[in-house]
């Protein structure tokens, strides 16, 4: 009883805040939690005509099929490698960029470079990927054109498995770095000026200020971003992959999401596709959960 009345008092005291929160709450229930019910089709042989209630139950059959799939380890490897390399090379860049912007003293120059850096984010993936295909073409493409100028042979980049990950990840970096930097810029803006002033008085140079003021202040944001990224470690967006790959380079390019797209959606194997997705998300959840525990122990930064 006591608990209940505390809840009501809280509601009453902050009713306008809760009223403002209501639409968000409803949105989450309707569009995030209710559709989660659909995940049960991973345990069914889902038939779209019969619906969830009329379809046959299979238990864990779809998951067994996934682990027995001869391509399971290849998909796992490709997905993990793309994400791990993506994190290693892609994650620090927005931070460095944000700090660099922060240090620029010419306001006009700062604004222009910042705008240029996040513009690629607004170009559709379809356009970006066809640009990549054209740049890498051995027949008049920019990259091979430059190679030829130095007397090097043309390379058919998109036909050779070993180049795919580099191409894919660097495209992602080019497209996303500027936009991701915005978040860190916001965090930087929140650092009190007094700290820098005090440091200057104490005789700390620019580099020391960065090491001992800027980075520690950014740390919570960095940790949280890293945690969020860990959650999607088994996810690589299928649309960018399928725009760029072809069967000759499945070996390095095929990931869970593109596989689900081909086999599940195009081949009407919805239940199997859902089983793969559920597996990806469980792994992601487990990773975030444990990483969160670790960071909580280390410095108290947590997601929840």
């Amino acid at each position: 009883m006591k608990k209940k009345s505390a809840f009501f008092t809280e509601m009453k005291n902050n009713k306008y805040l809760y009223l403002m929160f209501l639409p968000v709450f409803v949105w989450y229930v309707l569009f995030a939690y209710v559709p989660m019910g659909g995940m049960v089709i991973a345990f069914q042989k889902f038939d779209i005509v019969k619906g969830i209630l009329g379809s046959k139950w299979l238990g864990l059959e779809n998951f067994k099929a996934l682990f027995r799939d001869p391509y399971f380890f290849r998909l796992l490897k490709n997905t993990l490698l793309i994400n791990v390399f993506g994190l290693v090379f892609g994650f620090p860049l927005p931070i460095i960029l944000a700090i660099a912007f922060n240090e620029i003293r010419l306001k006009r120059f700062k604004k222009i470079t910042q705008t240029i850096s996040y513009l690629p984010h607004f170009i559709s993936s379809v356009v970006v990927m066809s640009m990549v295909i054209h740049f890498l073409s051995p027949d008049g493409g920019l990259v091979n054109g430059i190679r030829n100028m130095f007397g090097l042979e043309s390379i058919y980049f998109l036909q050779i498995p070993k180049y795919f990950k580099t191409i894919f990840i660097s495209t992602g970096i080019w497209q996303g770095t500027g936009f991701s930097a915005i978040l860190y810029m916001a965090a930087l803006a929140g650092i009190p000026k007094e700290q820098y002033e005090a440091a200057t008085v104490d005789g700390a140079g620019k580099f020391k200020q960065m090491m001992y003021i800027t980075l520690p202040n950014l740390a919570p944001t960095i940790v949280i971003m890293l945690l969020i990224n860990l959650g999607s470690i088994l996810n690589v967006g299928h649309e960018r992959i399928i725009l760029l790959y072809n069967p000759a380079i499945y070996e390095t390019a095929d990931v869970f999401n593109s596989y689900v797209y081909r086999e599940g959606i195009m081949g009407f194997r919805y239940s199997y596709a859902q089983a793969v997705t559920l597996f990806q998300n469980l792994v992601g959840f487990f990773l975030v959960f444990s990483a969160n525990k670790i960071t909580r122990k280390l410095d108290g930064t947590t997601l929840w």
Binding site: D47, I48, V49, N246, P247
Partner: protein, 545 residues
């Protein structure tokens, strides 16, 4: 008020008497769908439409899902053919549509929502799949009782029936019937052959010689040796193993590489002929005779041909023949002369044949939702039947006589309004609801009349007249149970074969690894899939015999 009631009463009498006559006519259980409610129509209007509607009463409302062929001309109730059809059948259509590229998705979304339109157009395989799950009515009995044209063209034609029926043997969708068997043909720059003083290539060795000459000569006169001797289209059609024709095999990924060999289903990639074929292709690729970027190049035919860079191709014959009058092509080289030639053979004297062909049954079809009332189903099947009739076929191939076509010496020809329209004939036809992706009969006259000139027409019918066709390799339909077992082994094998075939051709995997490739497919369980295919093939042949 009184007058209205009286009119209604009269109308009921008329409608009933008419339906009695109709009953006597077809000897079936057909019922009139509703009583007529003729209200304040002026006498002039009534006179005009009297013939059509006086015995039919209120129009039957039919909701339909039909994919549109062009994104900037989505079908509506006022689209020419559907408007005429609705008037003719005394129906009122409610058309839902998306552009064809999105149709497959939309189709399954509609079916999954449970709010299926009365009539649904989609691919025949989807219709059969969902039909067996109960989304669509089996049409066999309805056809038998109410639809003489459908009976004649679908049920009584064994080949068509075998390709139309679902794996439970029932007909759920009325398919589009194709008119011309020609699909992709071997096309070559005849003018360049003449420049080189070479004969039309007959054997694979001849082809090698011709392609090599194309590669090493500056035939397009731009000062550089930059001709792509042979282009293959993987990215769009995914039908690029045409030259396997010479070895008598079909490597068609769109049909999971199945073919009929000695009366049995065979998985083509593991046949010994495939090794020889791949070795040849790998050699051609290495020598630069094949487009080095064929794996990733989209729209390869337009790219090469419009830029005057292609020597030979395997593509839709009518399309390539039409390039001879393309203004962009002629601006580059007014002498451009693409000609379709016979399929390649291994040794001279063999009969040239190709597997690339249109099945009698095209991929599109329409079906009736299982949720409609029996009366409405009868009306709809009659509508389907009309579309298959000679009159209905003229409507969906040529449009309206006197408007979009006229008979010249008994042969239908499009009027100037169509041929001279701003965006060209094909666009006009498609925007006005002709050649829709539903259960129609394409007429050979349509194919002939839509050819730009005599040369295109001759080329289009060349393979038909010379009968350069192998027997078609059917796309077999599996039962639900078979499909599960099939997917369990085939989805992995399909990926492996898709990959390796390309790698053999571009040389990433050397051809002496071919035996390993065959063994691996064996280990992955291909025999199970072969057995399933043979079961399905037995059903298929029993329907077509």
């Amino acid at each position: 008020m009184f007058m209205k009631k009286l009119k209604k009463a009269v109308a009921i009498v008329i409608a009933t008497s008419m339906s009695v006559m109709a009953l006597a006519g077809c000897g079936s259980s057909s019922q009139p769908t509703s009583t007529s409610e003729i209200t304040d129509t002026t006498s002039a209007e009534a006179g005009e439409i009297a013939e059509e509607t006086e015995d039919k009463g209120d129009p039957v409302e039919v909701s339909m899902f039909i994919p549109s062929r062009l994104p900037d001309a989505l079908y509506t109730e006022d689209t020419l053919t559907f408007k005429v059809l609705a008037e003719k059948m005394n129906m009122k259509f409610d058309i839902e549509t998306v552009v064809n590229a999105e149709a497959k998705n939309k189709f399954s979304v509609i079916v999954a929502s449970g709010k299926t339109n009365d009539v649904m157009a989609g691919t025949l395989s989807d219709i059969n799949k969902f039909g067996m799950s109960g989304a669509f009515l089996p049409l066999d009995d309805l056809i038998d009782q109410y639809a003489p044209n459908l009976k004649q063209y679908v049920c009584d034609n064994k080949e068509v029936l075998a390709q139309t029926a679902a794996s439970d043997g029932k007909v759920y969708g009325i398919p589009m019937l194709t008119a011309v068997r020609t699909a992709m043909g071997y096309c070559i720059r005849q003018d360049w052959l003449d420049d080189l003083g070479m004969e039309v290539p007959v054997t694979i060795d001849d082809w090698h010689e011709v392609l090599t000459a194309f590669k090493n000569t500056d035939l397009n006169g731009n000062g550089a040796v930059d001709i792509t001797p042979l282009i293959l289209d993987r990215a769009w059609e995914n039908y690029f193993n045409n030259f396997a024709d010479a070895w008598g095999i079909e490597l068609n990924g769109n049909n999971d590489y199945w073919m009929v060999k000695d009366g049995q289903m065979a998985f083509a990639p593991i046949l010994p002929e495939t090794k020889e074929y791949l070795a040849t292709m790998a050699q051609w690729y290495k020598e630069g005779l094949i487009d080095q970027e064929f794996v990733t190049r989209e729209d390869t035919n337009n790219y090469h041909i419009l830029n005057n860079k292609a020597g030979a191709t395997c593509y839709w014959t009518g399309y390539i023949a039409g390039m001879n009058s393309n203004s962009e092509v002629l601006a580059n080289d007014p002498d451009t002369n693409w000609q379709v030639i016979q399929p390649p053979v291994l040794t001279e004297g063999q009969a040239p044949k190709t597997f690339s062909q249109q099945a009698a049954v095209g991929g599109s079809a329409w079906a009736i939702s299982s949720k409609v009332s029996e009366e409405k189903a009868i009306e709809i099947i009659k509508m389907f039947d009309y579309v298959y009739s000679d009159e209905g076929s003229m409507l969906f191939n040529f449009g309206v006589e006197g408007d979009s076509f006229q008979y010249v010496d008994g042969v239908p020809e499009y009027t100037d309004k169509v041929t001279g329209s701003e965006d060209g004939l094909v666009t006009w036809i498609r925007s006005n609801g002709m050649q829709p992706l539903i259960g129609i009969r394409q007429l050979p006259e349509y194919e002939a009349a839509s050819c730009a000139n005599e040369d295109v027409k001759d080329q289009l019918f060349n393979y038909v007249e010379n009968n350069y066709f192998y027997d078609i390799n059917p796309s077999l339909v599996l039962t639900e149970d078979e499909q599960d077992k099939y997917d369990a082994v085939m989805s992995a094998i399909k990926i492996y074969v898709d990959e390796e075939l390309l790698k053999f051709i571009i040389g990433t995997t050397p051809i002496d690894k071919f035996d390993d490739f065959v063994n691996k497919i064996g280990e992955m369980g291909i025999q199970d899939a072969i057995d399933l295919e043979n079961q399905a093939y037995a059903r298929y042949t029993s329907l077509s015999e």
